[in-house]
């Protein structure tokens, strides 16, 4: 067992770094590799690792919204059943008019993931087939998984809340009212929500 040595993992990373330009990679721990690529490399890297390095099992695809930095991070998680190694392929996409090449010809189930990400984040996958609607129905707002979509504002607008709970008190306010304490502005942001 190569439980403790990371040679096998390091070899794959080195191989990938040598094969693709602008690819950075690291070994996270045994059986875990992570590489970062550019968005235009997605299909070529996925095809390569599938055909040549044995990462034939597609585990998962995810999208993370880094609102403050202005990009989406697409994460493809692959598994090599032979070598028992998990590979994370990460690519950044600009949030504005986000669009990526379609990759569902490499793994057909990617189509489902991409449809979901298109619906939930508004990332466009160029050339992808499939219904526009996947999970939501008649949704006319911003894609809901974007971080700037405020779900509480939305529910207050669309749904009802049961009345009868208006007499709720805030402990901090109750006590400061009783003592006459005036909480300055610099402090209020540290008060309990």
């Amino acid at each position: 067992m190569t439980e403790n040595s990371l040679d096998k993992e390091q070899q794959i990373v080195n191989h990938l770094v040598g094969t693709f330009q602008n690819l950075t990679g690291k070994v996270k721990r045994n059986r875990r590799i992570e590489v970062s690529i550019e968005k235009k490399q997605i299909t070529s890297v996925l095809n390569y690792v599938k055909d040549h390095l044995g990462f034939i099992h597609f585990s998962h695809m995810s999208c993370v919204d880094w609102l403050e930095d202005g990009y989406f991070e697409l994460v493809y998680i692959l598994w090599s059943p032979e070598q028992k190694i998990q590979l994370l392929v990460k690519a950044l996409v600009d949030r504005e008019n986000a669009s990526v090449e379609n990759a569902d010809m490499i793994w057909r189930q990617l189509n489902t993931y991409q449809r979901e990400i298109r619906e939930m984040f508004g990332v466009n996958f160029i050339g992808m087939k499939g219904d526009k609607e996947f999970i939501l129905e008649d949704w006319d707002n911003m894609p809901p998984m974007r971080r700037d979509f405020n779900t509480v504002d939305y529910i207050q607008e669309v749904y009802f809340e049961r009345p009868g709970r208006e007499d709720a008190q805030n402990v901090r306010e109750t006590i400061s009212k009783r003592t006459g304490e005036e909480i300055p502005e610099v402090a209020t942001k540290y008060s309990r929500d």
Binding site: G164, Q169, V171, T174, S176, T179, S191, R192
Partner: protein, 595 residues
């Protein structure tokens, strides 16, 4: 496949073997299956134990728990008077509220059936809606399983043997890491702010420390307390007595966290840069302050920020009052106090040292020269012990000892000292005497647990080798021919329960008289104010009752131009109350002069 599949035909009939067996059906509602010992059902809250901290309401991500006023619950110190009410249309029975309840009053019961046609009836006040739930508690959290962090981050201290060698500070105080860890224990319930006389914004500055924003913490502390570091070292910290965590564990070290925060600013300049107060344009009004103790300094600081021309008249060489002269330097070093006072001076507070009102300047002059006067004279005159021989040489009050030592003198105590009293001043006197090389005995009328001094102080004294003799009543100081203290005669006492339900009284045991050879006797049974500086006319215009000046809620005396605060006014006689008085007086003086 054969046309007749005999096996396939017969096999289903093997189910007939079950025929005649007793069914395993639970015939609810005729037969009820008991739920498990830790079943998570409806809530039960012990209303007496609950302190209304609202932590359950905060952790509930379903916003199912509201804190509401109940008729039968009155708010008091350490109890917000609010109680949780659960919206069962939101509750998901995850029991996180139980896990974070610091008192353990909130629990889940084995009851779970709640069926009704009325959708508006799912508001449930645990403990009121199900008073019988107490006998039915299933899911609960004890000290081991609770998510509350009950253990305080230990405070590093000098070893007792090391301490008695010098007046170096005994507490080593929190490092950054320890302070963040300690601050993160706080559940931000704000019960502490109610008992703090100054109503400091405690949860806020602790949260700022927990988040690593020490500068903001200092700003929040300086919002209504200009002596934060002093308080951080020596405050009587009543806040910690009502901390939600102290019900089942250790209170958050509020005092030490405050010390940590203000201690980040090492010099007066840094302090000024961080606090960066908004100093208003001079408004031309003048305020005179008698006494540079905590109340006077507080008044001066905030008035100066508001643009008043403030002058403090201080009898001694240094500012700080009792904090400077009554607290030993191993608890509050000179540098720390000077830093805070230098910062005040830097924003425009003027202090006239060595100016004793009534001697170097008359009160009348001050009164006439200023638009308002604040009197913060404190208690300097010690009570006498009231036993025979107390005027002997070698018998003196603890405050005098502390004053001398803090002024740089080293009085000769001899080799055996008896301290009479059980308050902080007595302990200070004892520990100072110990540092001067004497063997020290503290005599106290009641039991050790009745001593009004801080437990840390008592513990510290014991570590330093001070002997405590509880239930001991001194009756006479025996002197030699030169009227010098030679020995002390005392009685042992037993505690007798008070018939009226008060605390037990010490009653001397007949025939237990003992004589102990001593070289000095230090009395520490309290002090009073000295009004000799005040001319008769002013003394009559402000009301003095039992040694204390009488003020209204605005800290204003009967003479509208004279305000007063500090020990000479309030009944608690500690630094934080004096600061609170000063802060209140600021608002009143501003209102009085600017309207």
């Amino acid at each position: 496949m054969a046309f007749f599949d005999i096996k396939g035909l017969v096999t289903p009939f093997t189910a007939l073997k079950q025929f005649g067996k007793a069914p395993h059906t639970v015939t609810f509602p005729y037969h009820k299956k008991e739920t498990a010992q830790r079943y998570r059902g409806l809530h039960f809250n012990d209303l007496e134990v609950c302190i209304g901290c609202g932590n359950c309401s905060t952790i509930c991500m379903n916003e199912a728990i509201d804190m509401v006023n109940l008729e039968q619950i009155e708010g008091k110190a350490g109890d917000s008077g609010l109680r949780p009410r659960v919206d069962n249309g939101r509750c998901c029975w995850c029991a996180l509220c139980v896990e974070v309840c610091p008192t353990g009053s909130l629990n889940l019961t084995k009851d779970y059936i709640y069926v009704t046609p009325d959708a508006d009836s799912f508001l449930w006040t645990p403990g009121v809606s199900n008073p019988e739930g107490k006998d039915n508690i299933s899911f609960h959290s004890d000290v081991d399983t609770s998510l509350s962090m009950f253990d305080r981050v230990p405070m590093p201290e000098l070893d007792g043997k090391e301490r008695v060698k010098s007046f170096a500070e005994t507490m080593l105080y929190y490092t950054e890491e320890a302070a963040r860890e300690e601050a993160s224990r706080c559940i931000s319930c704000s019960l502490c702010t109610e008992v703090c006389p100054d109503h400091m914004h405690i949860p806020e500055y602790i949260n700022a420390i927990a988040k690593g924003e020490d500068d903001d913490a200092i700003r929040i502390i300086y919002d209504n307390n200009p002596l934060g570091e002093m308080c951080g070292k020596v405050c009587t910290r009543r806040c910690e007595d009502v901390c939600a965590l102290q019900v089942r564990g250790d209170a958050v070290a509020i005092r030490w966290l405050k010390e940590y925060a203000v201690g980040r600013a090492e010099t007066a300049e840094m302090l000024k840069e961080i606090v960066n107060p908004d100093i208003q344009e001079p408004n031309g009004k003048k305020v005179g302050i008698v006494g540079a103790g905590p109340s006077g300094l507080t008044t001066a600081y905030y008035l100066a920020l508001k643009g008043f021309d403030v002058t403090i008249y201080e009898a001694n060489e240094y500012a700080g009052g009792m904090v400077m002269y009554g607290i030993p330097k191993y608890r509050l070093p000179m540098d720390s106090l000077n830093k805070q006072i230098d910062y005040m001076k830097s924003i425009g507070v003027k202090i006239k040292f060595n100016t004793k009102v009534g001697k170097d300047i008359t009160f009348d002059e001050i009164y006439k020269e200023h638009d308002a006067v604040f009197v913060g004279i404190g208690f300097q005159k010690p009570y006498s012990i009231g036993i025979k021989g107390e005027d002997a040489q070698g018998a003196f009050p603890a405050v005098n000892l502390l004053f001398d030592v803090n002024s740089g003198k080293t009085p000769d105590m001899g080799n055996k000292v008896v301290v009479i009293g059980g308050g902080n001043v007595a302990i200070d006197g004892a520990r100072v005497s110990r540092r001067l090389g004497a063997e020290v005995v503290i005599m106290y009328r009641r039991r050790v647990q009745d001593m009004p001094a801080d437990w840390e102080e008592i513990e510290g004294a014991e570590h330093e080798g001070v002997e405590i003799m509880p239930q001991t009543i001194p009756v006479e100081i025996i002197t030699d021919d030169n009227n010098k203290v030679k020995a002390i005669k005392y009685l042992k006492a037993e505690m007798v329960a008070d018939d009226k339900g008060g605390r037990p009284r010490p009653v001397p045991i007949e025939g237990s008289e003992t004589i102990m050879e001593v070289s000095s006797v230090i009395g520490a049974i309290g002090q009073e104010a000295d009004y000799s500086f005040l001319p008769e006319e002013y003394r009559n215009s402000i009301e003095i009752n039992r040694g204390r000046m009488v003020v209204n809620e605005q800290m204003q005396t009967a003479n509208p131009k004279i305000f007063a605060g500090g020990d000479a006014v309030n009944r608690t006689a500690d630094a934080i109350s004096a600061i609170a008085d000063g802060y209140r007086a600021v608002k009143a003086i501003e209102k009085f002069l600017m309207n």
